[in-house]
């Protein structure tokens, strides 16, 4: 009995120590998590200047507007399909319309519309052409051809100046890039001061690039077999 009484103060001290240790460990854990979260949060944004943030906001706003329009259209299509199914009617028109839209967008069929033509005279490298294509896409081009070849997913214009090719099709020193989209937006984006036309012009001083709006043109379908062999739908 007396031994048990004598051990009590030691037990109490041990309990206090353990509790203190547990509290410190819990605090350590919380701080470590806070530190990790702090490092993971929005990397990059804080490094952007006010001008870059404004540019980012403009891009996000315009992208979100397009996404909202797409979502509205899809919701309309969904509602119509639901209604059609409930009435037991066939959905041939809807399916055909959807198929035509996807095929045209992905380059499986031809596209007609307004846009611009970039005429290139003189030697230019594949990287210069790819920069032009990238800027056209950024400006909202809906369909593009390079020297008559439709640019779809996976198509790359490559080669040194004088040795350009696209899809095993050799491109000479004089060719056209055609793009369907808003002529004003496409022209404005390409030809702005310090824009891609100026940059490519500086990089390839012997090449002359001109941009001309067109009211109507038809861009052909792609010859490329786009159906994937190795990529399977994820279930």
């Amino acid at each position: 009995m007396s031994e048990a009484v004598a051990r009590r103060p030691n037990d109490a001290r041990s309990l206090r120590s353990r509790l203190t240790l547990a509290a410190v460990a819990a605090l350590l854990g919380l701080l470590a998590i806070g530190q990790l979260n702090g490092q993971a949060g929005v990397p990059g944004l804080s490094a952007l200047s006010a001008t870059e943030l404004t540019q980012l906001i403009a891009n996000l706003t315009s992208g979100n507007d397009q996404l909202r329009n797409e979502l509205t259209e899809l919701q309309g299509q969904e509602a119509h399909l639901t209604d059609t199914k409930q009435r037991g009617a066939t959905t041939v028109d809807e399916l055909s319309g959807d198929l035509d839209r996807i095929k045209a967008w992905s380059g499986v069929t031809a596209v007609t519309g307004q846009g611009i033509v970039i005429t290139i005279q003189g030697p230019i490298g594949g990287d210069g052409v790819q920069d032009l294509l990238n800027e056209l896409r950024n400006a909202g081009a809906e369909a593009i051809t390079v020297d008559g070849v439709r640019v779809v997913t996976g198509i790359v214009v490559a080669g040194a100046p004088g040795e350009l090719s696209v899809e095993n099709h050799a491109i000479g020193d004089g060719f056209e890039i055609r793009a369907i989209g808003s002529p004003q937006i496409l022209t404005g984006t390409l030809t702005r001061t310090g824009g891609v036309i100026a940059q490519v012009g500086n990089a390839y001083a012997d090449a002359r690039l001109t941009v001309t709006p067109l009211d109507s043109m038809t861009l052909p379908a792609s010859d490329r077999t786009q159906a994937p062999v190795y990529a399977k739908p994820r279930l």
Binding site: L45, I57, L74, A141, P228, Y230
Partner: protein, 243 residues
């Protein structure tokens, strides 16, 4: 020295553990305060509302993309093959499914490679990964036979632009910051094909190694690519004649 060691040995182990834990706690508190510094600085400046707006727009974009993928999935279910459908309708269903797969509107998986591009540690501007670097890698993957490519969860399609914004990039209008993981699905020898490319070797030696950008690669038995979640449609064009 011997005196100090003997004193330490006499200390209860709990006290030693507590001392070490408190030492680590001190370091963590200091690190936390140091990490808060830049955040406090920029929130007091004019960029703060811009950052908040950008964050809000990013969040909206993610929600919109998720909603688009969900509605597209529901539409595909509604359009799914009806066992009682006529042959012409069955063909239409199959064509539509194939068109969606080809256009990148369906998530896919298959053998592939994943590259990780990361800013170098030298602090030089040249050592920062640029949109051009990501673009070059994507182009080389296409030329080597890739069937599908994605960057940090964004599917690359015919209309995808990759542009610089500060030290980060925009892909499909989505703001992505490094490190960038470029994933591709293709033939099992995709990486071998890539290594045989003169242009890829020039990119690795002339740009990546020369500037100190970090590039690593993993061959994957099964790579995953998300569906493209952007706009699919024509505003200025319309389907023309000809296949």
């Amino acid at each position: 020295m011997t005196f100090v060691l003997s004193r330490i040995r006499r200390l209860p182990s709990v006290q030693v553990t507590l001392a070490i834990a408190l030492l680590v706690l001190g370091f963590l508190v200091a690190a936390q305060i140091a990490a808060e510094g830049p955040r406090v600085r920029y929130t007091t400046q004019e960029r703060s509302p811009l950052i908040e707006t950008a964050l809000s727009l990013q969040s909206q974009q993610e929600s919109l993309k998720a909603a688009i993928v969900e509605v597209r999935g529901h539409i595909a279910e509604l359009e799914a093959l009806d066992p009682n459908a006529a042959d012409s309708l069955r063909r239409l269903y199959a064509d539509l499914e194939q068109a969606r797969l080809t256009a990148g509107l369906i998530p896919v998986q298959g053998p592939g490679v994943a590259f990780r591009l990361e800013d170098g540690t030298s602090g030089s501007v040249d050592a920062l990964v640029s949109a051009r670097d990501v673009q070059t890698l994507i182009e080389e993957l296409w030329l080597a036979g890739a069937e599908g490519v994605g960057v940090n969860g964004e599917r690359i399609v015919g209309g995808t632009a990759v542009i610089d914004i500060g030290g980060s990039i925009l892909v499909n209008s989505a703001y992505l910051s490094g490190p960038y993981t470029v994933t591709a699905i293709g033939p099992p020898d995709l990486y071998e094909r890539l290594q045989q490319s003169v242009a890829f070797a020039q990119f690795v030696h002339g740009r990546i190694e020369a500037a100190g950008v970090q590039l690593s690669v993993a061959e994957l038995q099964q790579a995953d690519l998300p569906a493209f979640a952007g706009t699919v449609g024509l505003r200025y064009g319309q389907p023309g004649e000809g296949q």
